[in-house]
């Protein structure tokens, strides 16, 4: 019995290795030295209740879509990476959360409903939460379920299924009204938003953009001198 188990284990190791190498090889054949880059911007009208002492923008990821350059806080292993997702959450122009997902499977999940924290020191030294998560109006998790060879990504957001080819984008502005969340149409967004500001209704725009193929050589670590 023991020998059989050992044999299975010994057999499975090369199989796993072959599978891994095969997967990477397929990824490399399909995507080569590039990856599909998707940006997800969540912008809320009044999700932040204050701003700590003025500081320069402390975001650690920098994106230049013109040059297709992605500056990350540290060096990333890009072997087999075929999908990059950058998610940022902001309110009133103040970014309070960001996340960069690099995927080798072409799939990624962003839990937009998860509470986000942005704290400042309080009067007695305790942390004061400056993000009002109730004012973030989102429909649920955002899943990238598939990345196709031609750069198209398939997404699931709440009950919606979205397909975005390279260069395509999708956005939704949700307002939390007394009757519940409501999507605002693009032709009346300004009036509706003014109304939200006036009545202090929470509103959030979720914008997804497929930025197409980006070269892996454009991913740079944010270390001076590199």
């Amino acid at each position: 019995m023991k020998n059989r188990m050992g044999l299975v284990l010994r057999m499975s190791l090369p199989v796993c290795a072959c599978l891994l190498i095969g997967t990477l090889l397929v990824r490399w054949i399909l995507f080569g030295d590039s990856f599909v880059f998707v940006t997800v911007e969540e912008s809320s009208l009044n999700a932040i209740t204050g701003w700590p002492l003025t500081m320069p923008e402390l975001s650690q990821v920098f994106i230049d879509t013109g040059e297709k350059i992605l500056v990350t806080p540290g060096k990333k292993n890009l072997l087999g990476i075929c999908l990059g997702v950058y998610y940022s959450a902001s309110s009133q122009g103040v970014e309070f959360h960001e996340r960069l997902v690099l995927s080798r499977t072409g799939k990624a999940v962003l839990d937009l409903t998860a509470p986000v924290s942005f704290v400042a020191p309080g009067i007695d030294g305790e942390a004061v939460e400056l993000v009002n998560n109730l004012a973030r109006v989102v429909s649920g998790k955002l899943k990238i379920v598939k990345t196709r060879r031609d750069g198209t990504v398939e997404l699931e957001y709440g009950s919606k299924r979205i397909v975005l080819g390279p260069g395509e984008s999708w956005a939704e502005l949700l307002v939390l009204e007394p009757g519940g969340p409501r999507a605002i149409s693009a032709d009346r967004w300004k009036e509706e938003l003014d109304r939200c500001v006036r009545l202090a209704y929470p509103a959030t725009r979720l914008a997804i953009a497929n930025r197409g193929f980006w070269p892996k050589s454009g991913v740079k670590a944010g270390i001076a001198g590199d």
């Binding site: 911007e41 320069p56 650690q60 500056v71 122009g93 999708w170 693009a186 944010g222």
Partner: protein, 955 residues
């Protein structure tokens, strides 16, 4: 004008066209000789026997524990001859000084310093208040030290802001020039600190948030009240220029106060724009993916409101009240005079966006909170209603109270941060204003190549450093800058805060460099712990070495062995001297040529004289050489030496498109100079054309002139303004002593002759060897600067552009009852601003016609003539001489005339053909306009065609 120095000491110095002659008596003292010997690096052709003997003696000395090194590498460390004062940053801490804690005091004691006799430690217990009051404090302390020790000069090492105060005192004359021999400044924010900018912005934002909170407190807590909304951004059109008053940037501008001005700009311009930015950038539909997802508010303004950006930020390079009055640099800080308009706009931008966030957080009335979107189902009972609505009311007031709490907490935090800094007394500290960087980087967040925009901020500090720059060649104190370099891990993402050291960037820690100044940058000090820098053995060794070891002196040997290569550095000067022997009346011509230099760097060449106590620069005896240029210096006395150093001619801290701010001084840049020395016969005197004591105007009037062989020209600025005190005489280096109007005894300029050429041509005439046809006998390019057109802005919306008319005379009708700022700008042929003049016009009840007159630069009439053969043969020197004549407009006068390759020069062709000989003359002209003097340098080039034949034997 040549001035006299008394008695036995010599001093006749002249610089003419890059040629320097120095004559003088010999120094009798052995001290100088000893010093020279110890500082000399053996470089040349010493005979082997001498070397062997030197090695044997050295070994014996070491064995006998006698420090008697013979060359520069093993130079003797002398005992301290001057007291050293260590000055820390102001600190209320009564403990040991940072110097003691770092171990530097004991290190200095080991090197021969004695605490209380030659070593003094001073830590101010109170903040300096301002730069000038701090400088007076330091002066008093230094005077007391001088009195206690009886010495005439001392060395000072100052840490952090104390270094800035010390330098300010020296620059402004509060501390006498020359009193401090070496001013060692460690991690000193010479050009400001990014932290001061952050702190000042934070304090400003907090102050305005507290003001906003107090103003809106009643309406926020009132059951039916609400804070007023942001002003409608629709009132700021896309073509708005920012609504700055026309008088801003001039002395006619007025405001109710700095805080009032910032608040007004924030409320009227930047807060509405920020609300528009938030809506358009983050909430608009349909969504259009932006090219720069990380674009900031400033970047958005630059892209979407370019007129506001250009008018308020890009053009706001002067303070709101215009430039500082001439004597205001040493006065107390004056709001509106020290920061630029652009920096005030940046402050207003920060206040505006913060105020928008706070306003949004404060908005909403109690009614909206109770019956708003999340009111849920109607309560079934009174108890449920009380609980439901009571909780909502509580939450509503908690939210309102949070604004108050946040404002107060931030104020407390800001106060505690400020009070923890020893040299600041409060958040409103005037000293903090002085420390804001000269230029701040604004994060635009756009493409990688355009992420940051450099904005002039601290106009006051900029003016101080400009003044420092202009006196850097003449001051008698050597500035030593020591700092640490730390890799900023967020360098690409966040370079605007600190490209290097987290507290004090390298380029900010280096003041405007004089040629004799020294820089030391050490790796790996993770500030803020300053002790890390001071504790380091390398830093301590460096301080001791700078104080006690003589300068390394390279000796250039004579002979025909070719040129000797000398390394020149951007961090420290290199010194060279000819091989002085024991015989008297030696004269050497030292030729310095610079084959190539890194871009943005030039090589300063100057002469230093020994006054019996120390080496001092000879004022006026300096030149800046660029790649491919050369100069000759003639030394006639052992008490002189030549200094060489790379100096920055490009931007100090260039911003590279990759997102990184480069510091010119972060790493040592080196180049090479080629030197050759030729002995001259003293009987022949100075190898130059005319007596420096004569008036050498070649033309009939100062506005007409001719310069060429036999004519000679020396402008005021070219003359030796001062020379150091006589060698060995011990006179005051500050320049006291008597001066002579006549040349020194060895200095009558006579026939120029030098045996240097070796091929039979006179040594003082440059020779150009030509092999290929594309060889140019001068590398100077024609360059002129003169007025081309005027741009006149009448301040009432009308602007005119006038071509030509260097003497502007224009009339304009102004509407009644108005105040107008009229601005006339003259642009030159390179499209740069030449002259700028403004007038303030106030009109009465009727339309008024006003006339404006202003002058700009009129080009002179210059003619060049190159005289020489039209046909020549290969292998023989052809003599060419150039002559330049000029006619200047009124108000202009010539400062100097330079020419290349010389006023007379030889050309030697090595092959036959048709060749062009080029000759260039450069005129430095001062234009005296109404209220200023503008100096331009025009270069003119002429050429002459020559047919060159190869001589042959005809049968």
């Amino acid at each position: 004008m040549i001035r006299r120095i008394s008695a036995q000491a010599f001093q006749a110095c002249e610089i003419l066209e890059g040629r320097t002659t120095m004559t003088g008596t010999r120094v009798a003292g052995s001290r100088l000789v000893g010093r020279r010997m110890t500082g000399t690096k053996a470089t040349g052709s010493r005979v082997t026997g001498t070397r062997v003997a030197a090695v044997i003696v050295t070994v014996l000395c070491i064995l006998l524990n006698i420090a008697a090194p013979l060359d520069g590498h093993a130079s003797q460390r002398s005992i301290p001859s001057k007291p050293l004062v260590l000055i820390g940053e102001p600190s209320r801490d009564d403990g040991a000084s940072l110097w003691s804690r770092a171990g530097l005091v004991s290190r200095l004691e080991d090197s021969g310093y004695e605490l209380g006799k030659t070593l003094f430690v001073y830590t101010p217990r109170e903040p300096y208040g301002d730069l000038d009051s701090g400088a007076y404090t330091l002066r008093q302390m230094l005077d007391e030290t001088i009195e206690a020790t009886g010495c005439s000069m001392l060395d000072v090492a100052a840490y952090g802001v104390s270094g800035l105060v010390l330098r300010f005192g020296l620059e402004m004359g509060i501390i006498r020039d020359g009193l401090v021999d070496n001013a060692i400044m460690l991690s000193t924010p010479q050009r400001g600190s990014f932290l001061a900018d952050l702190l000042l912005q934070a304090c400003t934002v907090v102050k305005h948030e507290c003001l906003f909170e107090r103003e809106t407190r009643y309406s926020r807590f009132s059951p039916f009240g609400d804070v007023s909304p942001t002003l409608d951004p629709g009132t700021i059109s896309s073509r708005s220029t920012g609504d700055l008053p026309a008088s801003i940037g001039s002395s006619y501008f007025s405001w109710e106060g700095e805080a009032w001005w910032v608040a007004q700009r924030a409320r009227e311009i930047y807060e509405p724009l920020y609300s528009q930015y938030v809506q358009e950038r983050f909430l608009s539909l349909p969504y259009v993916p932006v090219d720069s997802p990380k674009q900031t508010f400033a970047g958005w303004i630059k892209q979407n409101r370019p007129h506001i950006w250009e008018n308020c930020i890009a053009a706001g390079i002067r303070p709101p009240f215009g430039p500082l009055p001439g004597d205001a640099l040493d006065g107390p800080p004056q709001a509106g005079y020290d920061f630029t308009v652009a920096y005030y706009e940046l402050l207003a931008m920060a206040v505006g966006r913060n105020q928008y966030v706070v306003r949004m957080a404060s908005s909403g009335s109690l009614g909206q909170a109770l019956f708003g979107p999340s009111h849920g189902p109607m309560p079934g009972s009174l108890k449920d209603a009380i609980i439901q609505y009571g909780l909502k009311a509580l939450l509503h007031y908690a939210k309102k109270a949070l604004v108050t709490v946040k404002a107060e907490v931030q104020r407390m935090i800001a106060d505690s941060i400020v009070s923890s800094i020893g040299y600041l007394d409060s958040a409103e500290s005037q000293f903090l204003r002085r420390l804001v960087k000269e230029e701040v980087l604004v994060n635009l967040g756009t493409s990688a190549g355009q992420r940051f925009y450099r904005v002039p901020a601290n106009y006051y500090l900029d003016q101080i450093n400009r003044r420092s720059s202009s006196s850097s060649y003449t001051r008698n104190t050597r500035f030593v800058s020591i700092t640490g370099r730390v890799t900023n891990l967020l360098g690409i993402v966040w370079p605007q805060v600190a490209p290097n050291n987290l507290f004090c960037e390298v380029d900010s820690a280096v003041p405007p460099q004089g040629p004799r100044d020294t820089i030391r940058v050490f790796n790996g000090f993770l500030s803020p712990s300053y002790l890390n820098l001071l504790k380091d053995k390398q830093v301590q060794d460096s301080i001791v070495s700078l104080l006690l070891e003589p300068d390394e002196l390279a000796q250039v040997t004579t002979g025909h062995s070719g040129q000797q290569q000398i390394r020149v550095s951007s961090w420290q000067p290199s010194y060279v001297s000819p091989p002085w022997g024991t015989a008297g009346d030696q004269v050497f011509q030292v030729s310095v040529s610079i084959p190539s230099l890194p871009e943005g760097w030039g090589c300063a060449v100057w002469v230093e004289g020994y006054d019996g106590g120390r080496w001092l620069p000879v004022p006026g005896w300096n030149q800046l050489l660029t790649s491919g240029t050369k100069t000759d210096v003639i030394l006639k006395h052992t008490a002189y030496r030549i200094g060489l150093r790379l100096v920055r001619t490009g931007t100090v801290n260039p911003y590279t498109p990759g997102g990184k701010v480069e510091s010119a001084f972060e790493r040592e840049v080196s180049g090479k100079a080629l030197l050759s020395v030729d002995p001259l016969s003293t009987a022949e005197g100075a190898p130059w054309g005319n007596s420096p004591g004569e008036d050498m105007w070649g033309g009939s009037t100062p506005s007409e002139g001719v310069w060429g062989p036999g004519a000679g020209y020396m402008g005021d600025d070219n003359g030796p303004a001062t020379v150091p005190a006589a060698p060995g005489s011990g006179t005051d280096p500050a320049g006291t002593g008597s001066w002579d109007d006549s040349p020194g005894e060895n200095g009558p300029p006579g026939s120029a002759q030098s045996p240097a050429a070796g091929d039979g041509i006179p040594g003082d005439i440059p020779s150009v060897r030509v092999v290929y046809r594309n060889k140019h006998t001068t590398l100077w390019k024609p360059h002129e600067t003169y007025h081309v057109y005027w741009e006149v802005d009448f301040g009432d919306g009308e602007t005119v552009v006038l071509q030509g008319q260097p003497r502007l005379k224009i009339a304009h009708t102004f509407n009644p009852s108005g105040q107008y700022l009229v601005r006339a700008v003259s642009y030159d042929n390179h499209n740069d601003v030449l002259v700028e003049k403004s007038w303030n016009v106030v009109t009465g009840g009727e339309p008024e016609v006003r006339e404006f007159c202003c002058s700009s630069i009129i080009p002179p009439e210059v003619e060049l003539e190159l005289i020489g053969p039209q046909k020549w043969v290969t292998g023989k020197h052809a003599l060419f001489s150039g002559e330049v004549t000029w006619k200047l407009p009124d108000g202009a006068h010539i400062v100097s005339v330079d020419c290349d390759p010389g006023e007379r020069f030889h050309v030697l062709w090595e092959r036959s053909g048709e060749f062009a000989v080029y000759w260039a003359a450069r005129l430095t002209i001062d234009y005296e306009l109404e209220d200023r003097v503008i100096r331009v340098k025009n270069t003119y080039v002429t050429e002459k065609q020559v047919d060159v034949f190869t001589p042959g034997i005809t049968r």
